[in-house]
């Protein structure tokens, strides 16, 4: 299972993660900061979650695999 966190100190509100994995990430209305809406997504979303982490312009997303 994947565990996902967004570092709010690093997030710059670009929304790249929301574009790539809209089922997993969303943005606040005021400053567009990213948050996780689905903290433990299934394996079918793994590729897009890793791509979102890789594409984040601040490297604010951490993905860890848990049993």
């Amino acid at each position: 299972m994947l565990r996902i966190t967004v570092d709010p100190e690093k997030c710059c509100g670009a929304g790249t993660c929301v574009l790539i994995a809209p089922e997993v990430f969303d943005q606040t209305d005021d400053e567009g900061l990213a948050f996780v809406v689905c903290g433990e997504p299934g394996p079918e979303q793994a590729d897009s979650v890793y791509e979102a982490a890789l594409a984040c312009p601040r490297g604010a997303i951490t993905v860890t695999e848990q049993d």
């Binding site: 509100g13 670009a14 790249t16 943005q27 005021d30 567009g32």
Partner: protein, 400 residues
């Protein structure tokens, strides 16, 4: 060659293939990915060509975007002006974040997605005019320029009928050959125009982004008048040229690669992937980004000292074979979104979602409306913008 010897003169403009960056850059990436280059201004700078190094510098607080700092790499010699308040693209750290935070929510993915019907309408209007004009038509003139212009005007609440006024100023700002006086006059003209527009929004706010900034930031005193004017003209300018040339080059790339076009037009998900691949392959920001080190920093094994300039070459990072296998091939099914076409780090393009939306709608509608569309001339006869700040096609005559 000593480590600090100049490897080449930047920028290179001669391309062997108009769809690939100048070949010498790729040789440099293979042999000396962090190397000294000489600029026309007489300065030298470090040229970065690897994806990892480009991303490292653009997200490192030891590298500044402030053009007024000593050592900042300028392409051409020009007097250095202090950075005007509100010019957040030229600010760093908390100062930059202060302005950027006022805007990120207004450019969120959901807000931009809500503009889809408007973008579709703009594109359909342009295609109607192109059809009425009849073949041959110039895609740059009929589609690439008007779509981003109308869309950013709609978002900001700038009446597009005023294009005759502000369009000339924008052209001067984007024309690399404008001298300092012309540049200053264009900035002043644009500021005067937007200042008057802001006065109207103050009296009668509407549903647009400038009105929102007037209500949320200017009236409560969080933004001064000058800051609001500056932010408005930056947004207006930024929404124009880059997307326009990505439309022209992207359309040409798809027309020249029919198998890729067929794949791209299979559906919305395929088109979204195709847009990412076109952005990666045809990175129009061919000269940037530029930064100056404010502290010593080791990048890609090379020590860059405080006060030295850096050019992070986005177009080369996006062709890095260590990150994108077979990087020179257009493969719209690649599915890679960690390219740096919009930059990287806290300064990454604020309007990237809007640009992505515009590109997807334009390519979808263009090839649906004119399935047999093709250039009227061979690629060898198409005029490319080799010397421009933003690469692209100057004209793209098509028939259908």
């Amino acid at each position: 060659m000593t480590k600090d010897a100049v490897s080449l003169e930047f920028p290179l403009t001669a391309r062997t293939c108009p769809f690939d960056p100048p070949g010498r850059y790729a040789e440099l990436r293979a042999t000396a990915p962090v190397s000294r280059v000489a600029l026309p201004s007489g300065q030298t700078a470090w040229l970065l060509t690897r994806h990892a190094d480009v991303r490292a510098v653009l997200d490192d607080p030891r590298f500044s975007s402030d053009m007024s700092r000593p050592g900042f790499p300028h392409l051409y010699p020009k007097p250095v002006e202090p950075v005007l308040k509100g010019t957040f693209i030229r600010m760093d750290g908390e100062e930059h974040a202060h302005y950027r935070r006022m805007l990120t929510g207004l450019f969120s993915v959901k807000r931009i997605e809500a503009m889809r019907p408007f973008v579709e309408q703009v594109v359909e209007d342009c295609l109607d005019r192109m059809a009425a004009h009849g073949a041959p038509a110039d895609i740059v003139r009929e589609l690439a320029y008007p779509v981003p212009s109308r869309v950013i005007c709609g978002l900001l609440g700038v009446p597009h009928e005023d294009h005759a006024t502000f369009g000339g100023y924008l052209n001067t700002l984007f024309d690399g050959s404008s001298d300092q006086e012309q540049f200053a006059a264009a900035k002043a003209g644009l500021s005067t125009y937007l200042d008057a527009l802001i006065s109207e929004k103050e009296k009668a706010p509407e549903d647009d982004l400038i009105s929102v900034l007037v209500e949320q930031q200017y009236k409560p005193g969080r933004l001064s008048r000058q800051e609001l004017v500056t932010i408005s003209w930056m947004l207006l300018a930024a929404g124009h040229e880059t997307t326009a040339h990505m439309i022209g080059l992207g359309a040409l790339t798809l027309m020249e690669n029919p198998d890729q076009l067929a794949e791209a037009t299979r559906g919305p998900a395929a088109m979204a992937d195709a847009v990412e691949e076109l952005l990666r392959h045809q990175t129009v920001m061919q000269l940037g980004m530029t930064r100056v080190a404010v502290a010593d920093a080791e990048i890609g094994g090379t020590l860059i000292r405080a006060g030295e300039g850096v050019i992070a070459l986005l177009s080369l990072a996006n062709r890095d074979p260590d990150v994108f296998p077979d990087p020179d091939t257009v493969d719209v099914t690649r599915g890679a979104r960690h390219h740096v076409a919009f930059g990287f780090g806290p300064h990454q393009c604020l309007g990237h979602s809007l640009a992505r939306l515009e590109l997807a709608v334009v390519f979808d509608r263009l090839f649906r409306r004119f399935p047999g569309i093709r250039p009227t001339v061979p690629v060898a006869d198409i005029r490319f913008r080799y010397d421009a700040i933003v690469y692209g096609v100057a004209e793209l005559p098509v028939e259908w």
